[in-house]
């Protein structure tokens, strides 16, 4: 039974996905039950496992691909952190997407790929070896492409093209890195020490750089971030999922795995590649915030904010001190919760009030109180206002920077906080203080859209407020780092 758990987790989204493709367009009930059913089953499975894994248990299943080469699915604490995030956010996004898309065309294709995308994310989280990780990483690329192109208009098709244009070379680089490494070490398992003795330090550095190039594109590291803002042409639920849990997180999660489980902290320090990575992450943090400031569209501004925020995770990993690593892993969840709240709200403004630009937000607060409250909570969390989730991440990253002997990190964090405030506070100001335009519309009579946003906002609030609890993202991240 326990060996089956990883497979069940994967199947809980894979099976609904495959069936959904064959559901007729007007069988709404069948399709919705499939999507929601899969999401609920997955959450239940995860809750079952949480307590066992907290006690140090792990579950493992392997399929032979070729003699010596296995597809290894393994549930450890880090996998469970990522997987719980994806499961909860998937459930919320499914509810949101069902309402958002209503009776628009091509629903079966959409929800089929939507579930496939989550299956790929689950597989990524569960991967216990590099080759399994790569397989699911590419499955994710392929299943998100039709979602980005979903509206099939000029903008979304060109966004999808751009996405592949970035994704394919980076995937080649990633494969190159994996093959180069594994040709000397044999298949790399995350749980086992990788003996890189056969490679000289320069080759090891080159492999590391290829890994960062391959994974950094999905994590939207500058200068590989260009696809992310254009991918906003996708429907709002897709943007929400892309930014909070699926694609950018897959990249960040991959970097966490490579740094801590493939190379290991000592080797990263010995090779001297940690500091360049931290610098790259810092540049991304500042550049993303700076570009966000220049945007006049809500979704574009949120997109550049993602570019910036995801690099907090990478910064935490690159600094390599325990506190920074805790902060980075906790931010994996924190950023997901806050960003999905913001994207849900942006979708509601678009759908219910026809507002896409920032100057259209004037006076929407009193008209759409729930949405605006959630949006404000998410924004304040991103800025890092205590006791919201973003504050916890930043304080741990800052302390971690000091611990790692890199006090300049404090400067980066402070500058980024100021920039965050500079682009989020005016939006809050417009929502609540400025008067509405005379012809402004806007109502919230759409519980399917508002309730997921409220739950996500509450979760972000809880993750910060209850950070001391063992099952908060911070508590869990501490467990992971202590276990390593």
């Amino acid at each position: 039974m326990t060996a089956l758990l990883p497979v069940l987790l994967l199947m809980s989204s894979l099976i609904p996905s495959v069936i959904t493709f064959f559901v007729a367009q007007d069988s709404y009930r069948v399709r919705n039950s499939l999507s929601l059913g899969g999401a609920i089953v997955k959450v239940v499975l995860i809750v079952l496992m949480l307590f066992a894994v907290a006690d140090g248990a792990y579950y493992e299943t392997e399929f032979p691909l070729a003699p010596g080469l296995v597809l290894l699915l393994r549930i450890d604490a880090l996998a469970l952190l990522f997987i719980s995030l994806s499961a909860i956010l998937w459930l919320l996004t499914t509810i949101y997407a069902i309402t958002y898309l209503g009776t628009k065309p091509n629903l079966s294709r959409f929800f089929g790929f939507f579930s496939l995308c989550v299956a790929a994310t689950t597989g990524l989280a569960l991967s216990g070896s590099l080759i399994s990780f790569f397989i699911f990483f590419e499955l994710l690329t392929l299943s998100t492409w039709p979602l980005v192109a979903h509206k099939q208009n000029e903008a979304s098709l060109s966004a999808a093209r751009r996405y592949l244009l970035y994704a394919m070379p980076s995937s080649a680089a990633l494969l190159w890195a994996i093959v180069w490494l594994e040709s000397t070490t044999g298949p790399v398992l995350f749980t086992e020490y990788t003996d890189m003795g056969a490679l000289d330090p320069m080759s090891q550095r080159a492999i590391f750089a290829l890994f960062i190039f391959g994974l950094g594109m999905k994590a939207a590291l500058v200068p590989l971030h260009g696809w992310l803002p254009t991918a906003m042409a996708a429907p709002a639920p897709v943007s929400a999922l892309l930014h909070a849990v699926a694609v950018v997180k897959a990249g960040a999660f991959g970097i966490v795995r490579v740094v801590s489980d493939v190379f290991g902290m000592e080797r990263v320090t010995a090779l001297g590649v940690g500091v360049p990575l931290a610098v790259l992450a810092s540049v991304t943090i500042l550049w993303g915030s700076f570009r966000a400031l220049q945007q006049q569209e809500i979704k574009k501004r949120l997109a550049f904010s993602t570019v910036s925020q995801v690099s907090y995770i990478i910064l935490g990993v690159a600094l390599a001190s325990p506190l920074a690593m805790i902060g980075g892993r906790a931010h994996l969840v924190h950023q997901g919760l806050m960003k999905i709240t913001l994207f849900f709200c942006a979708g509601i403004y678009d759908e219910r009030a026809d507002v896409r630009r920032i100057d259209g937000l004037n006076g929407l607060g009193p008209r759409m109180p729930w949405t605006s409250l959630c949006f404000s909570l998410g924004a304040l969390g991103m800025i890092g206002l205590p006791p919201l989730a973003g504050f916890i991440s930043k304080i741990y990253l800052g302390l971690g920077g000091l611990e790692a002997g890199a006090p300049w990190v404090l400067g980066v964090l402070a500058a980024s906080t100021l920039l965050n405030a500079a682009y989020f506070l005016p939006m809050i100001y417009r929502l609540w203080i400025l008067p509405a335009a005379d012809d402004a519309k806007g109502d919230e009579r759409s519980p399917g859209l508002v309730i997921p946003a409220v739950i996500a906002a509450l979760a972000a609030l809880g993750a910060g407020g209850l950070a001391a609890s063992a099952f908060s993202p911070l508590g869990w991240a501490t467990l992971i780092v202590m276990g390593e």
């Binding site: 032979p64 691909l65 070729a66 499955l139 099939q152 098709l157 040709s183 000397t184």
Partner: protein
């Protein structure tokens, strides 16, 4: 053993029946032969997996007096792949090659030619005698050329004549090599040749046979006949021509180099073979990008994909101490060949289904196909995944094995070719894929049934499944695998 006899005889009997009987009954007989032989192919594969190599000495005469047929893992894998492809081609061809659609001549000729081609293929896969292989190849080429010409359009006839010229030239070269071998050793059995006393004419003989087989495999620069021929034939015929026919001569090349004469593989020879493969990968891909008709893109993609198979030659077995699996590159090449066969036939069948609706394969006429025929579009997309070598797919497994072998033996330049080939494949397959996803008006109401659309999807799905469940074919390939595949050339 009886399964092997059925597999060789039943397609030929079916072909004769399809010629002799009235059209409807003939078609029925052909379908019966397809079903029976497919079952035999599956049964044969199961038998090989269970009890190892199956050997049949015709008339009880052992070589060098008689001729031996042998089903090893390689042959069983190829037979199994071919059977799946032919079955699907037959199902898709039923409406496409109906007399009112394809014309009476094509509808009449297609079935016997298809079965003849299949019988020839099977005989090539299992033959151990060089002359017997020659006969099989000739039969194969004649059936293939006729399938190109069957449409009757002037362009198709020209393409067929060009194909015939290359095929005959290839046969002559091959035959010249066979003559030299026979003169020197008095036997043509591959197993006996492996234990021969070396003769001074052997390198020349091997070079002649290799050149001839390369022309038949359409390896760059002998590929010029392939694109017009494969694009000009009716789509179900193209599916077989592209997916199966080049694999026959490729299998013979594998047997010659890895079984009969591995000691003749000098560094220079291997370098030339792999360089030609590299040329094929780049030239085929670049030409594919420049095409504006779907079938030509798919045909040039075959030129590029065949290149991969030859890049693996200098890598096979090398450095097997460095990788945890034996015969990495050899297995990788066979995996690439099989998954290409499955994916390429799915692509041509998808193209054929679209052409039933639009009667054109110009890219611009494909707009809106993802909406009109979603299952076919999905099949095309899955095949594209295999051809670009993205996981999970058989194409990826093969590519991974070849690339690892390249790194492990310190020849990472060949790995670069594989990686570049993948990126180029994305580039030339993206255009048709993006266009079928663009909205457009496709005449509704005449759309084919979903079950029929599912046939190419079956093939494409199989090519993807090969990457997820690659252990069983891997084990199968290990049966009777030549030592040179593991130790390197």
């Amino acid at each position: 053993m009886s399964a092997l006899v059925i597999l060789l005889a039943l397609p030929l009997l079916g072909a004769m029946a399809a010629v002799a009987l009235p059209p409807r009954a003939g078609r029925l007989a052909a379908l019966f032969a397809v079903a029976g032989s497919t079952a035999a192919a599956l049964w044969l594969t199961v038998q090989v997996a269970a009890q190892g190599v199956i050997r049949l000495e015709l008339g009880g005469w052992a070589p060098p007096l008689g001729i031996a047929l042998e089903v090893d893992g390689l042959a069983a894998t190829m037979i199994c792949m071919a059977a799946l492809v032919v079955l699907c081609v037959a199902l898709v061809a039923l409406p496409i090659m109906a007399p009112d659609k394809a014309g009476a001549r094509a509808a009449f000729g297609f079935w016997p030619l298809m079965l003849m081609l299949w019988a020839a293929l099977n005989s090539v896969f299992v033959s151990r005698d060089l002359f017997n292989l020659y006969v099989g190849l000739e039969l194969l080429s004649l059936a293939a050329v006729a399938l190109v010409a069957i449409g009757g359009k002037p362009a198709a006839i020209t393409a067929a004549i060009r194909y015939l010229f290359f095929a005959l030239a290839g046969s002559l070269l091959y035959l010249a090599g066979v003559v030299l071998i026979y003169a020197a050793h008095g036997t043509l059995d591959i197993g006996l040749l492996a234990r021969r006393v070396a003769a001074p004419t052997d390198p020349l003989a091997l070079a002649l046979m290799t050149a001839g087989l390369m022309a038949k495999t359409a390896l760059f620069p002998f590929h010029v006949w392939l694109p017009p021929a494969h694009a000009g034939a009716p789509a179900p015929a193209s599916a077989m021509l592209s997916a199966l026919v080049p694999k026959a001569s490729f299998v013979i090349l594998l047997r010659l180099w890895f079984e009969a004469m591995p000691e003749l593989a000098t560094e220079t020879a291997l370098l030339i073979i792999a360089l030609l493969g590299t040329g094929a990968v780049f030239w085929g891909s670049l030409r594919a990008m420049a095409q504006s008709r779907l079938k030509l893109i798919v045909a040039y993609s075959t030129v590029a994909q065949i290149g991969y198979l030859f890049v693996a030659f200098p890598l096979a077995g090398e450095g097997s101490t460095g990788v945890p699996w034996a015969a990495g590159a050899w297995n990788g090449a066979v995996f690439l060949a099989i998954s290409h066969g499955l994916a390429k036939s799915a692509m041509f069948l998808a193209a054929g289904q679209w052409m039933m609706v639009t009667s054109s394969d110009r890219l611009d006429d494909l707009r809106g196909m993802a909406q009109a025929m979603p299952m076919t579009a999905f099949a095309f997309a899955l095949s594209a995944v295999t051809l670009t070598g993205l996981p999970p797919s058989g194409g990826f497994t093969g590519k991974y094995l070849v690339m690892t072998a390249a790194f492990a033996s310190g020849q990472w330049g060949w790995a670069l070719v594989m990686a570049a080939g993948g990126l180029l494949a994305v580039a030339y397959l993206y255009r048709p894929l993006a266009l079928i996803f663009t909205p457009g008006d496709v005449a509704r109401g005449i759309l084919p049934s979903r079950a029929w659309q599912a046939v190419p999807l079956l093939l494409a799905g199989a090519s993807v499944l090969l990457g997820l469940a690659s252990a069983p074919p891997f084990d199968l390939l290990a049966i009777g695998r030549p030592g040179a595949a593991e130790d390197g050339l």
